[in-house]
Symmetry: C2
């Protein structure tokens, strides 16, 4: 079953733009991923928050996506910019538009 | 700017499948909507929860989508099945894959 993931990253103060730029680079890498259907980056009125909503063909595809060297390099660059991760929600995707 | 919306609907006990079916019908109606980019329905391990993640061309497109008679009819059918709505998050969508 398609696998959805919602999560909120709270950046270190003042680091939201830098973190969002890295997440947008991750989305660029994922353009080539067959398993990734959606990877959407957004912000709210909360100063340091960046949200990511994802849909994958299945949970295994998401796990595999984290393994390549270029993805690990992005994760390593993002990690020091992140104060906390919260609101993580894993979804069994039933269907919808845009899948 | 593209507009994202995340929300959790908690169904009345035992009504999740019925509510999800109505939301999937809403997604079918939205196939014809130029303003709707994503409308994804998913469930979690929480017994009565249904999540919807949406991306629209802009916030106005989302508002307009609620006006047609057939959409209002679905909203009217869904309303008595919903115990609460929570975790509503409005996003300014910066970009990503699948848009």
């Amino acid at each position: 079953m398609r696998y959805g993931l919602i999560g909120k990253f709270t950046a270190q103060p003042g680091k939201r733009e830098e973190l969002a730029a890295i997440l947008l680079q991750a989305a660029e890498l994922l353009q080539a991923s067959q398993g990734c259907i959606h990877y959407v980056i957004g912000t709210t009125d909360e100063p340091d928050a960046v949200w990511v909503t994802e849909v994958w063909t299945d949970k295994a595809a998401h796990a595999v996506s984290l393994e390549p060297e270029n993805v690990r390099a992005l994760v390593a660059r993002a990690a020091p910019l992140i104060a906390s991760v919260s609101d993580r929600t894993e979804l069994q995707v039933l269907g919808g538009k845009g899948l």
